[in-house]
């Protein structure tokens, strides 16, 4: 009988081995094969399918087990919440890999691509289960470093380079903040074990609060929280969307994991109201900024970048709810649902944009004029995903918004609910623009038609279908089966 520890070991082995070997293999066969590196794509997909199956097994096992499992001298902690998030990232990576096959096989950096996504996934999965500062730091650095390189993989595109430089530099700076946070915690607890709670008094409470703020800054950098977001529009908006789909959908989860494991347990010691106020303020700033600037974007890819910022803001609302024990459970349930919506939607949309680029169109609103006619499945899929992000019932996005807005903070901080609802309303303004351009504008007659054989289209349609199906009744079961 495979326990969680064995499954995890198998996962690491499964992901790290090909991840490390692929570049070696490539050295051995220098000549370009006809069709480039296509076989790598299939290999990557096969590995990721296996990874998905493993993470699913892990999640289901932990869910039925009903309790948490410690491993490796308490440096890892398995619980069903993180296991579910692991399923999400595996799915996301798999989808990106499938969608990447036709595009990446012509890149000279293809081996690096496939190797890195496998390694990053390993890092994110590890990150989800950490319970020790050393492990956390290692997993975090793995994810960070791999993602800097992934961003820069399209070597002939100057914006890819620019994105990598900005992301890398700011990431390095924020990593130092994490060390600072660790510093304080080590000083207070005396061990490197991630504390589940701290008993402190008086002055130390403000110290913890400051430390938590610093840690939120460090993790929040990756999430795109205001004022740590500045790199995000440039990277998400300028780099090739296929790469962005990976960063936006999967790498973010590492930051979430960090917050879940390192920050949230300490909230109780800061005094619940303080936490609510800090996160509430950040949430309001982030979502308002994201939504307001998204409204004036003409480039859909950049618009989606700002939308990611706005969604990070919504996520913070869910985290803010942790402060009050009454709303804690629903807040975290909301976070789970929101992450599901978000991973599906962002991977889908960016893959869709990558498809448009591959077929020769750009990603501005003008370029997307009328493509609803020539690429109906793709456009419909994107439209459904945007509606899900918007929070339109009965899609999954609606249920997630409903949970973490209405059910969580409405009692403790109704002003936050109100602002979040208003922001959702504002977001309709720009999502609807995209849908409008796709379906209700003339033009696009010369656009190429979509081909059923293109995996990107399948990925978009699949994520859209999932958003619909999960929204039709699975939201509650998921939240309960894998909730906190």
């Amino acid at each position: 009988m495979l326990g969680p520890i064995e499954i995890f070991e198998a996962l690491m082995f499964l992901l790290v081995t090909p991840g490390l070997l692929i570049p070696l293999v490539d050295r051995g066969m220098r000549e370009e094969r006809s069709g480039g590196y296509g076989f790598l794509g299939y290999l990557g997909v096969a590995v990721l399918v296996a990874a998905l199956i493993l993470t699913l097994t892990l999640a289901l096992e932990l869910s039925s087990l009903g309790q948490r499992v410690f491993a490796f001298e308490d440096t890892l902690l398995f619980d069903r919440y993180s296991a579910y998030l692991g399923v999400l990232v595996s799915l996301g990576t798999l989808l990106v890999a499938v969608a990447s096959i036709p595009e990446v096989k012509g890149w000279s950096t293809a081996p690096s691509f496939y190797s890195l996504i496998l390694l990053t996934l390993a890092g994110v999965l590890a990150m989800l289960f950490v319970s020790d500062m050393a492990t956390l730091l290692s997993a975090w650095t793995l994810v960070a470093v791999a993602s800097y390189v992934v961003v820069g993989l399209k070597k002939d595109d100057p914006r890819s380079l620019e994105g990598a430089a900005k992301y890398g530099l700011m990431g390095a700076a924020s990593s130092s903040l994490m060390v600072l946070g660790i510093a304080v915690l080590v000083g207070l607890t005396g061990t490197s074990f991630l504390p589940e709670s701290i008993r402190i008094s008086g002055f130390q409470m403000s110290l913890i609060l400051v430390t938590l703020i610093v840690l939120v800054a460090s993790f929040g950098f990756k999430l795109g929280i205001f004022p740590f977001h500045a790199w995000l529009p440039d990277v998400y908006g300028g780099v090739h969307p296929l790469l962005v789909s990976y960063i936006a959908g999967v790498v973010k989860m590492a930051a979430i994991a960090g917050i879940l494991r390192m920050v949230l347990p300490l909230v109780a010691s800061t005094g619940p109201q303080n936490w609510l106020h800090v996160l509430g303020l950040l949430a309001v700033l982030t979502m308002t900024y994201g939504n307001m600037v998204a409204l004036v974007q003409k480039n859909v890819q950049r618009m989606m970048a700002y939308s990611s910022i706005a969604h990070a803001g919504y996520l913070l609302v869910g985290f803010a709810a942790v402060a009050d024990p009454l709303s804690r459970v629903t807040g975290l349930q909301g976070v789970v649902l929101h992450l599901t919506t978000y991973v599906l939607a962002k991977v889908g949309v960016f893959v869709g944009l990558a498809y448009l680029i591959r077929r020769g169109l750009g990603t501005t609103l003008e370029d997307m004029r009328g493509i609803g006619r020539r690429m109906p499945a793709l456009s419909l899929g994107i439209a459904v995903l945007l509606l899900s992000l918007m929070g339109m019932p009965p899609l999954l996005g609606f249920w997630s918004k409903f949970t973490y807005l209405f059910l969580s903070v409405v009692d403790t901080a109704p002003w936050l609910t109100l602002i979040a609802i208003l922001n959702s309303g504002i977001s309709v303004g720009y999502y609807a623009q995209v849908i409008r351009y796709m379906f209700f504008k003339e033009g696009g007659g010369e656009a190429p038609a979509e081909r059923a054989s293109d995996p990107e289209v399948a990925v978009v349609v699949l994520t859209a279908i999932l958003s619909v199906v999960l929204g039709l009744g699975l939201a509650q079961p998921i939240a309960e089966a894998f909730g906190p």
Partner: protein, 102 residues
């Protein structure tokens, strides 16, 4: 004043210098050096905090060593990005990296 506070002030000063460099310098390599400074400030803080109690001393030292190697890896990657930049743009001026904005 207990020794810890001395060390903390030094780490704070280091970090501040590093921050200044990040914000005020144009050359990517200079900025990287500044990042290292900030990091070292944080590292020093780690060591200072962990020295306050006997239990945390070894933990702190081990973590610090780990952090050094991890940071080295991180900065190493950013250096490789800087090399790529130099190859492509023949310059290390971050002002040239402003194609995405707004």
């Amino acid at each position: 004043m207990p020794t810890v506070y001395w060390y903390l002030s030094v780490s704070f000063v280091l970090a501040a210098i590093g921050l200044y460099g990040l914000v005020a310098k144009r050359n990517l390599i200079r900025m990287l050096i500044s990042v290292e400074l900030v990091f070292n400030g944080a590292l020093l803080a780690l060591l200072s905090f962990s020295s306050t109690s006997a239990a945390s001393k070894p933990t702190g030292v081990v973590l610090a060593l780990l952090a050094i190697s991890l940071a080295a890896a991180e900065v190493g990657v950013v250096v490789s990005i800087a090399i790529l930049m130099f190859r492509v743009k023949r310059s290390l001026d971050v002002f040239e990296l402003t194609e995405s904005r707004g």
